[in-house]
Amino acid sequence: MTAIILVVAAFLLLLPFVYESRNLLILLTQVFVFSIFAMSYDLLLGFTGIVSFGHAMFFGIGAYSMGIFMKRFEPTLTVFLLAVLTTIVLTGFVSFLVGLLTLRLKSHFYAMLTLSLSGLFLVLAEKWRTMTYGNDGFTFRVPELFIDRTNFYLLCLVVMVAVFLILKRFTNSPLGRVLQAIRENEQRTESLGFQVLHYKIAASVMSGVLAGIAGILYAISLRFVNTSVFAMDITLDALLMTIIGGVGTLIGAIIGAGLIEFAHHWLTELAKEHWIFERWIIFFGIIYILVVMFFPRGIVGTLSTLSWKRKQQPAVKKEEKIAG
């Protein structure tokens, strides 16, 4: 498994030097950005068992922070770093507050709350015209370093790998193991002597900040930002990616992001052939239903159960013999 990941990573790293297709690079950059976003969502959904419908708010905060900083000040690296810092502080603060609310609100109540909170941010972005230029959004210039698509592609790749490694370590740390215990049985975790709320806040902040970083990269890749970054669609994309890829696996989020982005791309291209493909969202809906019905554990989850079963089978058979 690790070998495959390394080979793919090396391949992606070398790709821009051997194959010069601007379109593919841009598409892959998009995949990386959404991988980061989907992984941050997976930390909540797959590891801690928190269902949030408002994850787009962190994404949007990141995108708007970057956009506004780049528009208001000179597009230099210093300003870029300042924007990153602002994003981390803002998303950290908001996700801390949201995490606090998990104390009182469980499952779907929490989901509704996050939905309405992100709606609030959407309205804010629409109405605060002096800052955000409302619904139309605005374009901005980016630091020189990122104008080159290859550079930016590499940056996104590196950030994605870093986020993957950080989250891998995070979820395998003693704290991360407690998160999974919370997902399994919150009450029992409590009676083992863990302060469940602290862990939920930790997961929420971690996930929020990483989603903000994904938002930053998204804004830079488009050099444009409008209110769509706060839209429900963004959260739904993350949900779709993690579920198709396999919740609680991290790598599943990356695979899911790749699949969705590529499928999106190809389906829109097919629109020339038949008008139905312009409504590609219909297909996503169908895929989504099929996955939830037949592969509730997603691609990675299903694959790993299969290989696990193969390993276990001889042992199970032996037991059956004894029982028989």
């Binding site: 740390s173 407690v178 999974q180 049985n185 009676s191 083992l192 602290h198 930790a202």
Partner: protein, 252 residues
């Protein structure tokens, strides 16, 4: 007599129904106390009060002379009161070893470490294995908890509880819903714990004939009230107890 756990006039009322009615007990250290009583007598509710799942409407709970009535379940566990549940309550999609490892981790006070890999704490796994061995479950360490048989799950529960190394063990019907063949194994585990001699155990049990020889004292709850509290022999002889609860049992 120095008591480890003491309750005074402990009561809880749900609407108009008083589930636990002015129960005052005191349990000395290293004591094995059993709670018996018919269904609905308030045994589990009494446990919930002790472990903090419920807050009493009246009365106080003292642990080592300290008032813990307002403590949350988490804080009570940290203070030294661990409990098992009547309904099996484990982490279903984690392995058996991981279930116990989490408890060991909590006991070791490693709660917010997020930089190192959990395998760095190898001792946790070794300790968890020891606990599994004590409850005769070490051969199942790799399977998911949800794949265990009912009796095994109960053993796992007990292992998790033991791993917390709390002074007090509250065992809520450890043999509930178990087939008769499985019961001796659990009793064996409880006996082993008792033989270690460093825990205070409070046990709820229906099958009272099994626990009489284990218990130092037995208390009888009936309709939320403390009917009697004494050595197993005293309880067997006690007439009120016999008529209220044991009557049917002795006729057999």
């Amino acid at each position: 007599m120095s008591s480890l756990i003491e309750t005074t006039d402990l009561s809880i009322t749900f609407g108009g129904h008083t589930a636990v009615d002015a129960v005052s007990i005191s349990v000395p250290e290293k004591h094995f106390k059993s709670i018996i009583g018919p269904n609905g007598a308030g045994k589990t509710t009494f446990f919930n009060l002790l472990s903090g799942q419920l807050t009493p409407t009246q009365g106080k709970i003292y642990y080592r002379g300290k008032d813990i009535t307002k403590f949350s379940p988490t804080n009570r566990t940290r203070a030294g009161i661990g409990r098992s549940f009547q309904i099996t309550n484990v982490f279903p999609n984690l392995t058996v070893l991981e279930n116990v490892r989490l408890a060991v981790q909590s006991q070791a006070g490693i709660r917010y470490q997020m930089l190192f890999h959990y395998k760095k704490y190898r001792t946790f796994e070794e300790k968890a294995l020891e606990w599994l061995r004590l409850v005769l479950l070490d051969d199942k360490k790799g399977s998911l908890a949800s794949n265990l048989a009912h009796g095994e799950k109960r053993k796992l529960e007990i292992a998790m509880l033991l791993a917390l190394e709390t002074e007090v063990l509250l065992l809520d019907e450890p043999t509930a819903g178990m087939s008769l063949e499985e019961v001796p194994a659990i009793l064996e585990v409880i006996k082993r714990i008792k033989e270690q001699g460093n825990r205070t155990i409070i046990l709820i049990e229906h099958k009272m004939d099994m626990i009489l020889d284990l218990s130092d004292s037995v208390m009888v709850l009936f309709n939320g009230r403390l009917l009697a509290d004494g050595t197993p022999e005293e309880i067997m002889k006690n007439e009120t107890v016999q008529s209220a609860y044991l009557g049917g049992l002795l006729d057999e």
